[in-house]
């Protein structure tokens, strides 16, 4: 299956969703280290959660037929902790995930997702539990995420989500691809270099 990767402004996302339960799910679980041996990210989508899936023999959420084509992941607390490997969000993205909602996210993981144009939004535990139940009860329903008011809705129920302002602005403006912004500041970079003692023989 071919997926369009995120690009430009990311103001809304719709699709089916499913749940990965558990706190502190680390990036080693999202993509086990042996799959890091690659010089391109292209095959990672199939390898997402490989060990957990093997253990559950086809019953892992990422293997269930009902979840094929879903693009929203609902998780719990401290999702994506551990190694900074960007292979983790890459694997999720290449599988087809475009939005992650959870109680909280590890910082590097959050940043890595943002840099791929995948918003990670949070809500308090009680709300997430409620959302997970709604999703589990009816995996077929379509959820609509609106960045503008940071909500996710299935027509009947609407949940308010949180996103820090910086990430919000970047997604809203389509400027989550940092490189071009950074390159625009050549002069200022030169000035910074000029004032760094260790790049100037420690001259005061």
């Amino acid at each position: 299956m071919k997926h369009e990767f995120p690009k430009g402004e990311i103001k809304s996302i719709s699709g089916r969703s499913f749940v990965i339960k558990g706190d502190d799910i680390d990036t080693d679980r999202i993509i086990p280290a042996r799959f890091l041996k690659c010089v391109s990210f292209s095959a990672l989508g199939e390898q997402v959660f490989a060990d957990d899936r093997k253990e559950l023999k086809g019953n892992h959420p990422f293997d269930l037929d009902q979840n094929k084509g879903a693009n929203i992941l609902i998780v719990n607390d401290n999702f994506g902790c551990g190694s900074s490997r960007e292979h983790a969000p890459q694997a999720l993205m290449r599988w087809g995930i475009r939005l992650i909602v959870g109680e909280s996210f590890a910082e590097i993981f959050f940043g890595n997702c943002l840099a791929l144009g995948i918003p990670c939004l949070t809500a308090p535990k009680t709300e997430i539990t409620k959302l997970q139940k709604l999703v589990d009860d009816n995996p077929k329903q379509i959820w609509d995420f609106k960045l503008k008011d940071s909500t996710i809705s299935n027509q009947k129920e609407t949940l308010k989500l949180n996103l820090e302002e910086g990430a919000y602005k970047m997604l809203f403006s389509g400027k989550w691809d940092a490189t071009s912004q950074l390159l625009a500041e050549e002069e200022r970079i030169k000035n910074t270099v000029k004032n760094l003692p260790y790049l100037n023989n420690f001259k005061q």
């Binding site: 042996r34 010089v39 093997k54 551990g82 900074s84 490997r85 200022r188 260790y198 420690f202």
Partner: protein, 469 residues
């Protein structure tokens, strides 16, 4: 908001611009790259027709995928060979210095860079590797980044970053005999939690920290990330300067004196403001071992494996998972848990002093029957220094394997792996499920001296008992 801390000062020196999204464009003084997280970043800049902006500020080595038994090229594993060849090619075409196999300076990136004097106080250090926090031991602001940030640093020598809050962790007293930096950091993570540090930089300070050697300080900062803190640092002092003196890339002559003046000025002011402060007594810490599947699940060697029911509500589920996965019985002592494999190495504890301390335990003993034990020096330099001190012989005579430098069984992206349900005593930094290469392999984290003691007795042992011999 913190002010007057080393973090604030170094941050200000490197600030290029405030970006619209609320983050800061930060200049990177030292960019380290390795074979795992750089190839995709190079492809990305090639796709965009961009070059490497400051090739002299990026330094490369190879560590994760190198075999530690036979390092002859081409490697047996074609994928590993391809990753190394790709890195070589990228470095060559962009004029980046590469410390490759056979160069005498190759090693785990967080071991070799400090050794060469590349890491210095006051720098910003970035690397596509979460244990970049290690370099904070020098009073640098050092943090792990993802591949798209590696791309950004290659292209612009800068990245977009949010300023962190600063928590000072003040450690009074002095570590007791048989208690090492590893025990201290495992103790801290246990008490602050694996996400206690999210959003924070950790400043480690106080008498117990000041007494630590640079190598021990690196162990502490290395695992700041395991406590959720993306960077951890220690103010530079005489110990730092002594370590850096005459290193290959350290400033020399007149520059050295000027450098010291600047470095001193970076330390957190006595009236610095921290966002949070924590204090503990280092002399009360005992050898610490993890029993579970997160680095926060540590206990002292004298304690029993906790009963999940007795833990705070939010820790119960993961503790239950951990007991099940580890196949350890709650309410039983951790001391005496039988192990299969012993691993001494990694960027946490693969330095000369780590091997030396462990060798003191091993000397005169042999590895217990049925135990596979091996030592993997963190770098070529460590290997060389250890050999010149006869440390390799001590291990070999005791029945350890002595390997070539690399990440080895820290994460098993190379032939060194646990098999099946094997349980290891490991001086590395992560005990996540499957971390050491077997999907159901098990890891107990501890200091290298404790690993040595475990190797000799075939089970988790209080190293202090062997020190009294």
């Amino acid at each position: 908001m913190s002010s007057g801390t080393l973090y604030d000062k170094v941050w200000n020196f490197h600030r290029v611009k405030e970006l619209p999204g609320g983050s800061t464009q930060l200049f990177v003084g030292l960019h380290l790259i390795h074979e795992v997280t750089s190839p995709q970043a190079f492809s990305a800049i090639h796709e965009k027709n961009l070059g490497v902006k400051f090739p002299n500020l990026t330094i490369a080595t190879v560590d994760h995928i190198v075999p530690t038994s036979n390092q002859e090229r081409p490697f047996n594993d074609p994928l590993a060979e391809e990753m190394l060849a790709t890195l070589e090619k990228n470095c060559k075409s962009h004029g980046i210095k590469f410390h490759g196999i056979g160069s005498n300076s190759q090693g785990v990136v967080h071991v070799m860079a400090p050794e060469l004097g590349l890491t210095q106080p006051g720098m910003t250090v970035a690397c596509g590797d979460s244990h970049t926090s290690t370099h904070g031991a020098f009073g640098a602001i050092a943090f792990g980044i993802g591949t798209s940030q590696v791309r950004d640093v290659l292209a612009s020598q800068s990245l977009a970053m949010k300023k962190l809050k600063v928590r000072r962790i003040w450690v009074d007293g002095e570590l007791q005999k048989g208690v090492y930096a590893k025990d201290l950091i495992l103790h801290i993570i246990r008490h602050l939690g694996v996400k206690g540090g999210v959003g924070f930089a950790y400043e480690f300070a106080g008498p117990a920290i000041e007494k630590l050697s640079m190598e021990s300080r690196m162990t502490i900062c290395n695992m700041a990330i395991e406590g959720g803190a993306r960077c951890g640092y220690i103010n530079p002092d005489e110990t730092t300067f002594q370590y850096l003196k005459d290193k290959e890339c350290s400033p020399k002559g007149q520059e050295w004196d000027k450098a010291i003046t600047w470095w001193r000025s970076l330390a957190s002011d006595s009236e610095a403001k921290f966002d949070d402060e924590i204090q503990l007594d280092g002399s009360l810490i005992e050898p610490t071992v993890t029993w579970g599947i997160t680095p926060g699940q540590g206990i002292s060697i004298k304690e029993k494996i906790p009963n999940p029911e007795s833990l705070p509500k939010n820790e119960q589920q993961i503790a239950k998972d951990a007991c099940k996965y580890m196949n350890l019985e709650p309410d039983n002592p951790i001391e005496g848990v039988e192990i299969d494999v012993c691993f001494i190495g990694s960027c946490t504890n693969g330095r000369l002093s780590d091997l030396e301390e462990a060798s003191k335990i091993v000397k005169g003993y042999t590895v217990a029957t049925g135990i596979r034990a091996f030592v993997v020096p963190g770098s070529q330099q460590v290997a060389k220094d250890a050999k010149s001190k006869g440390i390799d012989k001590i291990f070999l005579n005791a029945g350890f394997e002595w390997r070539e430098p690399g990440c080895s069984m820290c994460l098993a992206m190379n032939p060194d792996k646990l098999e099946g349900r094997q349980i290891s005593a490991s001086s590395s930094n992560r005990n996540f499920k499957g971390r050491q290469g077997s999907a159901n392999g098990r890891t107990l984290l501890m200091s290298p001296a404790m690993v040595a003691a475990a190797a000799i007795n075939g089970k988790v042992t209080d190293v202090r008992k062997l020190l009294q011999k």
